[in-house]
Symmetry: D2
Subunit: 428 residues, 4 copies
């Protein structure tokens, strides 16, 4: 293992050990800042300076945030930095100037940094458990490889600082991807208004170590919602007609949500993924909720589903004399890659050490809020591509045994750093 | 306040301060035993000796029981007694011999002793909070007056020991009424096989202090069930057709449970009172549950509902390619009072100090597992009646502000002790 | 067979041969008028003079009425009379004065006269088929004994004219009972405002020939509705999202109608008895309907159900972006008998020739719009009872093989005529 | 207008005047045979000789067939031919030998000949009404252009007989396309086992006169089903619990059919297009039905939907204690064109008189049972293409005002005859 690889592995394990779910990436942000300070960058923004706070969605409540801030403090984050993030704004943007930073292209690299609210496996054959870097934050886990993403972001800065490039590089350390909540406020922050090229990266996605996909397509636009139904309780034996049954409302909604008509214009999705209601067998349920989502192959199809879902939710409530409040908790549009940028990545990957197979396209079939950033750049005349760096992963994404093959870390750094150098030179 | 009343009040407040939900009445049983030992009874059985353990329903798991045993130990229950109750069998039966215990009638008095799994109000105008005997067990509360019932049971023994009576008295300190789970195993224990007369008592039920109802009717037979649906998760965006959706199964079941046809033979009830399912908005839900109940004006009507509910639950699961496990968590038949015993109680109450109004009958419109004991006694040729002792209660039964008017405690003791003396003498 | 009985049988068979469904009793009314003219009564009102036309419900359209009027004309009804009924107002009220018509009580007898829209059996063992008086009106049948009722009404007038009585008798030949539509407009006509006693009669009801029930109870209040859902069609393969699916709306309504909560105050009913929608397998359905009913043990309970049903129907439509029109097609309140009048009928029946068994009460468990008349009389201080005259009937009411035992006709005439004489004399 | 065009127009109007729905094309088959006999073909098969009778689906009952046979006889079809078709097997296959019929390729042209069970407009601006060739068969109409298809089939034979071609031509005059029922038995008849090239043709499809689409794609595989639910009736007021409610079963099925999960592998469809149940508002419904369909972008996706639909239907019935019978009424797989054949048609169309615009592909978004024939040919090594000949049509397909622009008839004949000549010569 080269010293560079050793450093990447060590950094990734550090992140892996301290996963922080969406909007709680206090220690993670602090650790990134610390590292970047050590490397030396030309500009560095954090927290409230990298987000339009109004545009955030799915943020936790104050108690929740406070607990994670305390946790970060105990883990070594500086009081100074924590004070700046305290309102619940996390993430960072690092700026590195290459040659001709004014005249050359502005190139952004987006890496996301949040963990997931799920427990990590402690099985003996789960490498993080076996080698002692399993999550120390109970109930949280880097189960989607964002620990590797943060590491690759730092690695690219280090590599380009050493090897040089043309133009200006902005690395976006984005919070809250898992709730499709962090990209929109970063897109609205002003920092990417001048970006000419945006690369986003994801590791794994069922592609093995040594494989690179130049342009991931098939992003479904998504809207994640929470509906809270409120009725009135009564004793189910003595006063069954005195209640207003929120569980009946919820069940009617579930049945009719899944029954929203398919659309001839393309794929749609709907899921009532987390539901509940009521208090006891003998009480007519006074409250219920659905946490769910709708998706569409295009943003318009997602909006078709959202409008229909709203109609179902409101009338299911009203049908059972209940009220309902519907909150949008996260949202992302669909997006597509620019062919010229995909061409370039495809060519670069084909000559990168360690890369054995290059695919031009593959479909995600899921959602990603990087699409907000991609569209923002494209709407202003820039180009964007979403690159996948393969990694052998024993468990699927989001499962308790997910892990990355650390051999893919230097491959990711090389492909992206080379691609950025080529973009600077050739402006595709 | 007489010394007797003072003692009843003090005892009731002690029970109130330490509510223990169904099957966890470790400290409560210990405290009753301690008190009865002090009074002196002719026989005293506890825990495994008062229940047919096989007939229990709705019992908690081992960890849960262990925690409450520890709690009881800290609160002063003796290790000795706790050892005897350890398997999760609570409750006690006290035997008091009057004159001619062999030749005279065997008379049982049933009082239930469990609390509810709900938090108690800490409002300033809630008397237990204001006077310092609010629940010390977080999340548990005597919100249905069983603290008063246990107290009355002890008070009756004390009164009859002093005043004498004919025959033999068995006071049944029954656990787990709130989950309709404790009466069946006590009925099957053998202890009431020789009972000629059974009186059960409840306080309140919307009747004011000074009012007595000689025979509560309108018990709905009930069956409390839990259905667990199991499917298979998948990513709702990428693989919507690979899951087997347990929430769809649950919602279809809820809709069709409430739609079970009404029955021409009398009142029926159904409720899906506590439901839930799934894990996250973007995962096809792999599990779901319904905790619910069916009731009927007669046991046959309840069984009609149960059979229909089973059919709905099984086919809702199968419809969505899920499995379902249905567990009966509690059950009680319907029952009626014996007129001769009601006559006697009505007459006695009419001459009891403090009683201002006597009703012959009123309808419960709910369920009570005392019906198991009533029917057991009746099936063997005995007679039973269910007596209500009114008490002003500011909040409704099962609410956070429920409380009893302690002036009703001595009234309850008098009515019941007098009734037992009259039964012994006149064998109605 | 006495000549009186022969005459009753012949008259009943004539009615049986020409059944006319609700609001189409043109020939039937004409035939009754003809008969009463022959007998001679003191006053005779028909059609528009016996109904408040505004209060009618469930009336057929003009073409339908015209066809039945033509039919009645061909069957011998006079043009003169048909002209008076033409607006679709059928039925008659005959007034017969006894002794002291001003000073004595006003007594009403209600008989209904409409047939049912169903085909009659032509089986060899169906007496009307075997003996040649099967329905000549295809698709219509006297399958509920109203042919016998009309006959008994005429028979009672004839008997009392001969035997005399005290007071004044009004016989109400009421149309449109089967759609619970004729009683309300007759109650509002003014004719029964001065009625002191009302007897209504029904034959059969599963009671054998020779049995009389003095007071039928258990009338469920009912409201019969039709809901028409309107959406928009589209090709189910090519444009599934362009339609607005009325069948989805209807199905959601059906599921939730049956799931309206049971009511603690008494029995309720709901039924979606006739539903349909759509045009072809490959077209998103643009229309659908539910013809259904709600009932309640009391009028208030029926109204509870109706309000809930309306809520369900409207929101099911709205949920699927459809509209719905809800029409009340018929309606009747609940009602109870006056004990004093039941006492009298019970006593009279006990001494009537041919009566072998007298029941004081039995429950209908269904609905009847006679309740409108009963309540109207009671609200003005009068008394009412609903009498059942048993008759052996091979098929059930409303089935193709229903028939009456004609031996019950003179029994019915005797019981009612005697009861009216007793009422006149004793004013119970 | 040339004499050839005049003849095509006259023939098409004759067919238009006598539309016969699926499996009832008695007169149509007879007329085609008559015409082919006049032209002279090398072989001609009809009815039972062109179908595997066992493979038919969606066939009418005997009375229905008899009525249409009588009708055809009155319209001039010969008794002889009608005798051969009598079992309900319609359609014909004509064989025309070109040069080298043994050594050259066998080329099939498929035209469908059935009408639709819907009334035709009699509006003054509907050309068939204005010019006197509106449907004379009440309730039936050529509303999808199959009259033009039959005409084009005859026209192509006539043209090729005159102009010559290489190989052998089989023109398949296929019955019962509208119920996706006629192609499967023709595919199984043996007649196309030796076919090397298959062209199918459709007119219109929203393409204007002068436009040709060389290869229609986007056929959805389809399965059309009928589910009959059987329960038990009871009086909804008196005996609500004695029935077994088929409408509840149907409604539960409808709700859950539409809620079958979307599939990640491609488009699916489901529709409950024609439903009904019950008899009267006051009867618990004893029967109900759903006539519906499922579709999929591939045959596998359609089968996924069908398996799920079956599961829903069976469990919805069982849930309400009803039985269900599910019958497949029609079915067609998906299919794709062979590029080489599309290339040829595209090239030919580009040089045909009257063709102004040639599209290579367009999506049908619906279903067609020609796919059975296409797949049968392809499975045996042959090639297939589905050609659309544009025609201005005022009303949409299947509507009362559908009509074709007769100027498209000679274009269709030319394109297809030229294509067949080119295929014979070049064997693409």
């Amino acid at each position: 293992m080269t010293p560079e690889t050793e450093r990447l592995v060590s950094l990734r394990r550090e992140f892996h050990r301290r996963p922080e779910p969406a909007w709680r990436e206090f220690w993670t942000t602090a650790r990134i800042v610390e590292e970047l300070d050590a490397i030396g960058v030309d500009d560095l923004f954090v927290g409230p300076d990298v987000l339009d706070a109004e545009a955030r969605m799915g943020t936790p409540d104050a108690d929740d945030l406070e607990a994670w801030i305390d946790h970060a403090r105990e883990a070594g984050a500086s009081d100074d930095l924590l004070d700046r993030l305290a309102g619940g704004t996390t993430g960072a943007i690092a700026v590195l100037d290459g040659e001709d930073p004014e005249g050359g292209p502005t190139i952004a690299l987006r890496v996301d940094i949040d963990g997931l609210p799920r427990a990590e496996s402690d099985a003996g054959d789960h490498v993080p458990a076996a080698e002692g870097f399993r999550s120390e934050n109970d109930g949280a886990m880097h189960a989607c490889g964002h620990d590797a993403h943060a590491t690759i972001g730092i690695g690219v800065i280090e590599a380009l600082k050493e090897r040089g490039f043309t133009g200006q590089l902005k690395v976006l350390f984005q919070p809250a991807e898992e709730v499709v909540g962090g990209a929109a406020p970063m897109a609205e922050s002003g920092h990417i208004d001048d970006v000419d090229y945006l690369l986003a990266v994801h590791i794994g996605l069922d592609h093995p170590t040594g494989e690179v996909v130049a342009g991931i397509e098939g992003f479904l636009a998504v809207s994640h919602f929470r509906a809270e139904f409120a009725g009135e309780p009564s004793h189910a034996g003595g006063h069954p007609a005195q209640g207003r049954n929120a569980v009946q409302a919820m069940a009617a909604a579930v049945q009719n949500l899944y029954a929203i008509p398919r659309h001839e214009a393309g794929a749609t999705r709907v899921n009532a993924g987390d539901v509940g209601g009521g208090t006891a067998a003998n009480i007519v349920p006074e409250d219920a909720y659905i946490e769910g989502e709708v998706r569409g192959e295009t943003t318009a199809l997602m909006e078709y589903m959202r409008e229909k879902a709203d109609r179902v939710l409101r009338n299911a409530a009203e049908m059972h004399d209940c009220s309902v409040e519907i909150e949008t908790k996260g949202e992302a549009p669909s997006a597509t890659n620019d062919a010229a940028l995909v061409d370039l990545v495809e060519a670069v990957a084909g000559t990168t050490d360690g890369v054995e197979s290059v695919l031009r396209h593959d479909d995600l079939g899921g959602s990603e809020d990087a699409t907000y950033l991609m569209r923002h750049v494209q709407e202003q005349g820039g180009k964007a591509a979403y690159v996948c760096v393969g990694t052998d992963h024993p468990g699927g994404h989001h499962t308790a045994t997910f892990d990355v093959d650390e051999a893919s870390l230097p491959i990711g750094v090389s492909v992206l750093a080379d691609a950025i150098r080529q973009v600077g030179e050739h402006r595709p």
